[in-house]
């Protein structure tokens, strides 16, 4: 555990130089999205025949979905090129493993750090949601944890994959064929039940739909028993990803 803290401390020293820009962006991006999609598109919907989406104003429907989808994107971005750099280009991990640190310490430190980063981003997003008045329940604060967990549910398997790669070719493909389609079709902008049955099924196989659904019900204060399934799916992806990453990163670095 102390080993993981030292890896985390390393990342903190690196972050000290870039935190201002990163924190700034954590607020700007949700504000822009909420303004454009919520006021713009949401304004149209509220004047139309439907008025609400699943019983919520469009902005209140959209906000928790965006919160979780942003965490998904961060999880993807942070575990492709930056991890490749530390494995192969900068060989940071090779340096770490020449000390008492073990592969497990490196991984625990990276995931711990990632959870912190996702947490900071999610808190910023949540504050914006509060300001826009889209949080209808005290339970809503738990959406922050759902967001972090969803981020990790993507980050851990993707890191496991990255550790097996020698080139970055597949990273753009993950973005194009997994992250972007999920962002658009995973229940963030409209309810999944609008989609054809097949695509619905695919969406429910991924962590995003479960994270979005859980965060939305928390934010609306309408928690259902399906919450446990959502949580279980998220935990499954995160922990299976961590186990896989332990195997692939070890295989890559300790030869």
């Amino acid at each position: 555990m102390t080993g993981a803290l030292r890896v985390l401390e390393h990342n903190l020293v690196v972050y000290r130089r870039t935190w201002k820009g990163s924190v700034f962006m954590s607020f700007v991006s949700p504000i822009l999205f909420m303004a454009a999609m919520g006021f713009g598109l949401g304004g149209l919907i509220s004047r139309g025949p439907v008025r609400t989406v699943d019983g919520l104003s469009y902005l209140a429907f959209l906000a928790p979905g965006l919160l979780v989808a942003t965490a998904m994107q961060s999880g993807y971005v942070e575990t492709t090129f930056p991890i490749m750099a530390r494995i192969q280009w900068e060989r940071t991990y090779e340096g770490m493993l020449a000390t008492p640190l073990r592969v497990l310490d490196v991984l625990a430190g990276e995931f711990g750090w990632l959870a912190l980063r996702l947490g900071l981003g999610s808190v910023a997003f949540f504050l914006v949601m509060l300001v826009f008045g889209t949080v209808h329940s005290g339970l809503g604060i738990l959406a922050i944890f759902v967001s972090v967990l969803t981020g990790l549910a993507f980050a851990a398997p993707i890191l496991a994959w990255t550790a097996t790669r020698r080139t970055t070719n597949s990273f753009a493909l993950i973005g194009r064929f997994l992250i972007t389609p999920l962002f658009l079709l995973g229940g963030v902008f409209f309810p999944i039940h609008q989609l054809p049955q097949l695509i619905q099924g695919i969406a429910w196989l991924t962590p995003l739909a479960h994270g979005v659904s859980l965060a939305r019900s928390l934010s609306a204060g309408a928690l259902q028993s399906s919450a446990f399934i959502h949580l279980a799916v998220l935990l499954f992806y995160a922990s299976a990803g961590i186990v896989a990453a332990r195997i692939t990163l070890h295989r890559r670095l300790v030869t």
Binding site: V14, E90, E94, G95, T99, R102, T255
Partner: protein, 313 residues
């Protein structure tokens, strides 16, 4: 090696040490002991198995066969405990380019669990030692190759290691930078740090190593002190003759001029105890080489003798 019992003071003890990757045998059943306080070298061309051996000693690669003890412990079981007492300078620098020069030392010290104040003190002291004090707050990417190498060495010393592993410490450095690195390593040796290094530079091995093994094609082909190896496998002096292209004389014209003659693509080497006399004899036979050089025998000659090939091709 000749000794089969573990010397009481051996920091590294290897018997039949083997490393296989799929179809390739990188290290083929080698035996060696490294004793406390010595500078021990692995000399050999690229691909001889030096780095694989170093990685097994550094506990980041598992032996495929044989036995290996480092600091009296098992690298597979006790990796973290062993690494806590090692300093490692890898073949290519693994400095953290996201961090400043002094931050590199600080965070590395923290990996060893060294307290923050002590980590800062050691970072300052080591930057002084490797003459990078005035670059403490620079970005790593702005350092020259020699400076990066020195910083890597400083980083490897941050835990005050008993055993320092250096994989090709001066490859790619200019002569001045190399001498500075050698000087620092020599000082460390005098302070009692045990040094294990790999190199394909014979002058490096001769400068730094008390004892060395010559590796070729995954095996140890000779071992001893640089002086004893030269004594055993070469002559006192070497006469180097360089002839114009396509004008290398037939070997029989040189017959009897030296104990042994090697014809290389670009020059002819005559192994003899008296280079000057051989040069005179070459001249008296009517041969007119473009250039003549009499020099001391080096480990390069040893390697050539043992393997029939130059060390750096």
């Amino acid at each position: 090696m000749a000794t089969s019992a573990t010397p009481p003071d051996a920091l590294i003890h290897a018997r039949g040490l083997t490393k296989r990757f799929a179809s390739l045998t990188a290290v083929d059943a080698i035996d060696f002991d490294v004793e406390r306080g010595e500078a021990f070298g692995f000399l050999g061309p690229n691909g001889a198995g030096k780095t694989s051996t170093m990685r097994m000693i550094g506990c980041v690669s598992r032996a495929s066969g044989g036995s290996l003890r480092v600091l009296g412990m098992d690298p597979v079981e006790d990796g973290p405990q062993i690494r806590a007492r090692l300093g490692v300078v890898p073949q290519s620098d693994t400095l953290d380019t996201e961090l400043l020069v002094d931050e590199n030392l600080f965070t590395y010290a923290r990996y060893f669990g060294i307290a923050r104040n002590e980590a800062r003190r050691r970072a300052a002291q080591l930057l002084d030692f490797v003459q990078l004090k005035d670059r403490a707050h620079d970005r790593v990417e702005f350092l020259s190759g020699g400076m990066k190498r020195r910083l890597t060495i400083a980083r490897a010393l941050v835990n005050e290691p008993e055993l320092l592993l250096l994989d090709e410490p001066t490859t790619g450095l200019d002569p001045q930078a190399r001498h500075l690195v050698w000087d620092r390593l020599y000082r460390l040796k005098q302070q009692g740090v045990t040094i294990v290094l790999t190199t394909h530079y014979m002058d490096e091995a001769e400068q730094l190593c008390d004892r060395l093994v010559v590796m070729d094609k995954a095996k140890i082909v000779a071992f001893g002190s640089p002086r004893s190896l030269i004594h055993r496998y070469s002559s006192r002096e070497v006469l180097e003759l360089r002839f114009p292209i396509d004008a290398t004389p037939a070997l029989d014209k040189l017959n009897g001029l030296a104990e042994r003659i090697e014809v290389l693509p670009d020059r002819v080497l005559l192994y003899t105890n008296d280079g000057e006399a051989a040069a005179v004899a070459v001249h008296s036979r009517g041969l007119r080489p473009e250039a003549i050089l009499v020099r001391r025998s080096t480990l390069e000659d040893v390697f050539l003798r043992l393997t029939g090939r130059s060390l750096i091709e």
